[in-house]
């Protein structure tokens, strides 16, 4: 059975285009495309849960980033890809921390969107040098609060540093003699840790009564 994709996007035309295009594909199904996070949450309650949700950031009501947090909380198995018009590293990073597994620029061509979804489902994830720098900063800044589980492994460090140095996935793969897919998998892991780490941070803060 083809993986299911859900879309949360308030621009009806873009939403429809993506939905219709993905639904047309054999490898994917896209039965649900909604305006808001709230609608998606309702849908998730009652219907089959999608494997991947494409999520816009700027949304009426709850923001996409908040939505990611809530969805990942309830349904950790759902992979979420952020959709963004621009390469806004701040928002992307915030999304990743909230639990997103990757991001797509909206003007990415429809075939590429499809590829990205498929790649993600196979375990891959994109990471730009800008994001990589933020990742490094994040892990450094939070050093004291981290537990071992959420710590980046040396290899993950290598990969992130490679990205910061401007290396492409291929170059990283070449440098460390691993496959590009392994690089992607690492990056995905990093995202997870980022999420866990962010969550841990929130928990730690809440325990201290800071929130």
């Amino acid at each position: 059975m083809a993986p299911v994709v859900g879309i949360v996007e308030d621009n009806r035309k873009i939403r429809d285009l993506i939905q219709r295009y993905l639904d047309m594909q054999e490898e994917l199904r896209c039965p649900v495309a909604v305006d808001t996070v709230e609608e998606m949450l309702e849908h998730l309650e009652e219907h089959q849960r999608p494997d991947v949700i494409l999520m816009d950031i700027q949304l009426p009501g709850m923001s996409g980033i908040e939505g990611i947090g809530i969805i990942k909380e309830k349904y950790p198995e759902i992979e979420i890809i952020m959709l963004t018009v621009y390469h806004d590293s701040h928002k992307i990073f915030d999304s990743l921390c909230a639990g997103a597994s990757g991001y797509l620029l909206k003007h990415t061509s429809l075939p590429e969107i499809k590829d990205s979804v498929l790649k993600l489902l196979k375990g891959g994830a994109p990471m730009s040098p800008q994001i990589a720098r933020k990742v490094i900063n994040h892990f450094q800044d939070n050093a004291p609060k981290r537990n071992a589980d959420s710590e980046l492994t040396p290899r993950e460090h290598d990969i992130v540093n490679g990205l910061v140095d401007g290396l492409s996935y291929k170059m990283i793969a070449d440098r460390y003699d691993i496959s590009i897919d392994t690089v992607r998998a690492h990056i995905r892991n990093i995202y997870k840790k980022l999420h866990v780490n962010s969550k841990a941070e929130v928990i730690a803060k809440s325990l201290k009564g800071e929130i």
Binding site: Y86, K106, S109, S128, Q130
Partner: protein, 956 residues
């Protein structure tokens, strides 16, 4: 002359004049002196008189005594001797040792403790600056400032151990007066003189060295003069008042004042003039004498306190001296030289210089209440009384009864110059002309100014002048011309008229003086011009031309020539000098018309308290100006310390300065001028020795005061006090600085706050613009791109496939450009790190298959870049990368970014083979140049190995 009454004047009630009273002023316990036994007197350099009494020390400033006792630090209240040394220090010899006064407090000199068992009778500083202390029984002590104290007693050669006085003659010989003779100390050798050497007595009391170096010695048996090795002695038989002499003082002319146990003698070298209680001394036993800087002689007495004698130019007569009554109304002098003195209630008194003989109603006088007595050309006396007229001619009274003279209150009588008759002024009944035994009355209705006539004067032109209570009337050729306030009189109550030596007429009134000359009143002189009192009872002109005006406050000496010669009103004041009881008048309140100048030039003043004879020729000017001191300063009613300058706070109120100008001659007539330099330039004149300032504003001031004595001599030095009024805390420099700092802080804060706010606002705006572009434009273009994708994917007409693809590509290009714009204006992407990330992102996307090497050495990734710099650098980079992507066969790209000390270098170098012309001239390179210009950076392109773009510029 019609003889109405005749009485031979043989009897009369005569009385021998005991003596005339002289101007002695006495000060004793009732004036504040601590005790009436005065042992010693000195006047210090500041002008204060120090009085040693048997109980307490006194400092006298002419007005007040300040007392010092044992509780103030004195060894004993029995003060025996006083001395001021060359350093200005005052020494006090008590009956048990010595004290000194330093800085207004009494101190004890520890080295002089051995003297504390002695009564110190004399303190002396010799010409070498060493001190000598004469004691009563312990000899003489020699003390020098190095601390050595040596006692000399009889065994050393001193005549006796009870030493009374010490003196040093000009050759440096010291002289000691003891109870057992005189001792000299010359070149370290004592030599004594006794009666065997010619002294009249061995018990000596005082020594005075004359200018010629000779010695005057006060003994218990007369005055002795030691000169050229011999003693000349003066005793009672030579005129000395008493042989038991206690004290000697020498005046400026070298004459001696001698204080004895029975009065004082003045010895001018040949004869003695004696003064006792009869002349006004309060006590005859004189213990001490002092000749002061104003040339007055002071006597300290045993039991009578202090006496000052101001010279014998004043002689006073009262009932005690033989007058029948003290209310003297008139004085005249007959051709035989007798004085005739009228009194109100006492009749008429004849004074021949020694004896008073009084004639009253019992002797034939018409009334004892006599208003006036004058003489006529025939040496007759014309006596105006409250009850008619008496004429005394050759010792006979001629009286007029009511039928002959119905007018009773005869105020004044004047014989007309042509000797044809008399003018009589009455009190209420006008003027009477007495001629050929008939009286003719002239009244107000006849043209007289007023029927109250106080004085009559005839001017040289033969006109008669009447002083009335309604002005002055001039009577000539049967016609009256009246002068009143309207014509320039200061007051219509005219009391006396004087025709002066220049032919001017002077009118004294209840409101000042008026001068008449050439038909008009030319001048008035009132209190405004400095006249000390406005009521002028009489006016006289002495032989020097000085005017003397009798008032309620004494007699005014008025130097009209001086008054006219000086310009300023301030200086004009000095032409007036008020003579009062303090100067020797018997009383201050004079009587109308009771002034007279005798043929010898003496002035006679009749007052309510007796008669004064004044010899203006003997009166000398007091040319010793007052010594001025600030005595007390009070702030808000509290005395404050002001030694070395006064400091007061800004909240001061009522700053009061009390000062004194010491003039012992006329302490009450000292005139002060003061000013507060810094606040006022003008001097203010006052007679009150105190001034008050309500509030002094912060600042630096000098309070200055100077004083003038009654003869117009100003103090040479002004007393001054530096005053600092502190600024209130809100005017202190530190406070002002603090406030300034706070204000600057606020300004800085506000400025900063607004700047920051503005920056925040701009950033917000940038973010908003970014998100708007993002949401609206970006979304719409994305939509187009996706639409084209979708159409292609759904396999539409192949003719449309390419255009659709182009639409997608263009849309995405625009979105990509917008992406760059949004990125550059988004304030969150302002750091260098954001720039490098973006550059790497872009290179990764565009050149996925080329090896891109970055060299970002020593870059501070957190450093903020300006939006234009960040944007243009990125776009230059983008252009260069695009160039490589489009035109280069390079496999490797090197990106170097340096940013050091404010300047940056961006270098993009590839390893492409050989130059390609289009790469030089292409649109991309122009773009790079244009963008480099925008950030004022240089750009170089290189073609050696591959292609190089090098941008260099300022990052700050």
């Amino acid at each position: 002359m019609k003889q109405l009454f005749l009485i031979l004047l043989i009897v009369g009630s005569g009385s021998r004049c005991m003596a005339q009273l002289l101007p002695f002023r006495s000060f004793s316990i009732e004036k504040g002196l601590s005790q009436a036994v005065v042992n010693d007197l000195i006047q210090d350099e500041e002008g204060y008189l120090w009085v040693a009494t048997g109980y307490g020390l006194n400092r006298f400033d002419g007005l007040q005594f300040e007392n010092y006792y044992e509780e103030d630090g004195l060894h004993s209240n029995d003060i025996r001797s006083l001395f001021q040394d060359s350093k200005g220090r005052i020494w006090i010899g008590t009956s048990s040792g010595l004290n000194t006064i330093e800085k207004d407090s009494i101190v004890t000199v520890p080295e002089l403790a051995p003297l504390e068992s002695s009564a110190v009778l004399e303190i002396f500083e010799d010409s070498r600056g060493d001190f000598w202390f004469a004691t009563d029984g312990q000899g003489v002590w020699h003390y020098d400032e190095r601390g050595s104290l040596i006692q000399y007693i009889s065994v050393h050669g001193l005549a006796g151990n009870r030493v009374r006085s010490i003196s040093e003659s000009t050759d440096g010989t010291l002289w000691f007066a003891t109870r057992d003779g005189l001792t000299s100390l010359e070149n370290g050798n004592f030599r004594s003189f006794t009666t065997e050497d010619g002294l009249p007595e061995n018990k000596l009391r005082d020594l005075v060295i004359d200018e010629d170096g000779s010695l005057w010695i006060a003994t218990r048996n007369g005055l002795s003069h030691y000169a050229d090795g011999t003693f000349s002695n003066y005793k009672e038989e030579d005129g000395l008042i008493n042989n038991r002499i206690q004290s000697l003082s020498m005046d400026n002319e070298g004459n001696l004042w001698i204080g004895t146990e029975e009065g004082a003698s003045y010895f001018d070298g040949t004869s003695f003039t004696n003064y006792t209680v009869e002349q006004g001394l309060s006590n005859d036993i004189i213990y001490s004498t002092l000749f002061d800087r104003e040339q007055n002689i002071w006597f300290g007495t045993f039991g009578g306190g202090l006496n000052a004698f101001f010279g014998n130019h004043f002689e006073n007569y009262t009932i005690e001296e033989g007058l029948p009554n003290n209310v003297i109304t008139s004085i005249t002098q007959d051709q035989k030289g007798n004085y005739w003195i009228s009194s109100y209630g006492g009749g008429l008194t004849r004074f021949d210089g020694e004896t008073f003989v009084t004639f009253s109603e019992n002797d034939g006088l018409v009334d004892n209440k006599v208003y006036s007595v004058t003489t006529d050309s025939q040496d007759r006396l014309l006596v105006g009384t409250r009850w008619g007229l008496s004429i005394i001619d050759d010792n006979r009274f001629y009286n007029f009864d009511e039928t002959e003279l119905p007018y009773r209150k005869i105020r004044t009588v004047l014989e007309s110059r042509d000797q044809t008759g008399y003018w009589l002024g009455t009190y209420g009944e006008g003027v009477l002309r007495f001629e050929n035994n008939t009286f003719t009355q002239l009244l107000k209705e006849d043209g007289l100014a007023n029927n109250m006539v106080m004085a009559i004067e005839e001017s040289e032109d033969g006109a008669c002048w009447f002083a009335t209570y309604g002005g002055v009337s001039r009577y000539k050729d049967g016609e009256f011309t009246n002068y009143t306030i309207r014509e320039g009189l200061p007051n219509n109550g005219v009391l006396d008229i004087l025709s002066d030596r220049e032919g001017r007429l002077w009118f004294t009134t209840y409101g000042g003086l008026a001068v008449y000359e050439n038909g008009t009143i030319t001048e008035t002189i009132t209190t405004r011009e400095g006249l000390p009192d406005e009521v002028g009872y009489f006016i006289l002109q002495d032989d020097e031309g000085i005017f003397w005006i009798g008032t309620n406050k004494g007699v005014i000496r008025f130097d009209y020539d001086q008054y006219k010669s000086v310009g300023s009103p301030e200086e004009q004041m000095t032409a007036f000098k008020l003579i009062t009881q303090n100067q020797g008048l018997v009383a201050n309140e004079m009587n109308v018309g009771a002034g007279f100048k005798d043929r010898e030039g003496n002035l006679w003043f009749g007052s309510v308290g007796g008669l004064t004879r004044f010899n203006p020729g003997l009166a000398r000017m007091n040319d010793a100006p007052p010594k001025v001191h600030i005595e007390n300063v009070e702030v808000s009613g509290e005395p404050v310390e002001y030694e070395g300058g006064l400091k007061v706070g800004s909240d001061n109120h009522n700053v009061r300065f009390d000062f004194i100008g010491i003039s012992l001659s006329a302490p009450n007539q000292v005139v002060y001028e003061y000013r507060l330099k810094g606040a006022e330039k003008e001097w203010h004149r006052t007679r009150w020795p105190s001034v008050r300032y309500s509030t002094l504003l912060p600042g630096e001031y000098v309070f200055q005061v100077r004083a003038r004595n009654s003869d117009g001599f100003w103090s040479v030095e002004t007393a001054s006090l530096n005053i600092t009024v502190l600024a209130p805390f809100w005017m202190q420099w530190w406070f002002i600085l603090a406030v300034l700092a706070v204000i600057m802080g606020i300004i800085f804060f506000v400025y900063h706050y607004y700047r920051v706010r503005k920056m925040v606002e701009i950033e917000r705006m940038r973010v908003r613009i970014a998100s708007d572009l993002h949401d609206d434009v970006g979304s719409a273009l994305t939509e187009i791109a996706l639409q084209s994708d979708f159409l292609q994917a759904t396999g539409t007409d192949s003719k449309l496939a390419n255009p659709l693809k182009q639409i997608g590509i263009q849309s995405r290009k625009i979105v990509s450009s917008l992406d760059d714009i949004v990125w550059s204006i988004d304030a969150r992407n302002d750091t260098l790190g954001d720039l490098t990330d973006r550059m790497q992102d872009y290179a990764n996307n565009v050149l996925p298959h080329k090896e891109v090497v970055y060299e970002f050495d020593h870059l501070d990734m957190e450093e903020k870049l300006t939006v234009p710099l960040k944007e243009n650098l990125y776009l230059i980079f983008k252009e260069a990368i695009n160039n490589i992507a489009k035109h280069s066969d390079a496999t490797r790209v090197e990106v170097i970014l340096k940013n050091r000390s404010g300047s940056f270098d961006l270098l993009i170098r590839d390893n492409g083979s050989g130059p390609k012309p289009e790469r030089k001239t292409g649109h991309g390179l122009r773009n790079i140049k244009m963008r480099a210009q925008r950030i004022k950076a240089n750009v170089n392109f290189g073609n050696e190995t591959g292609f190089t773009v090098h941008v260099h510029g300022k990052s700050r």
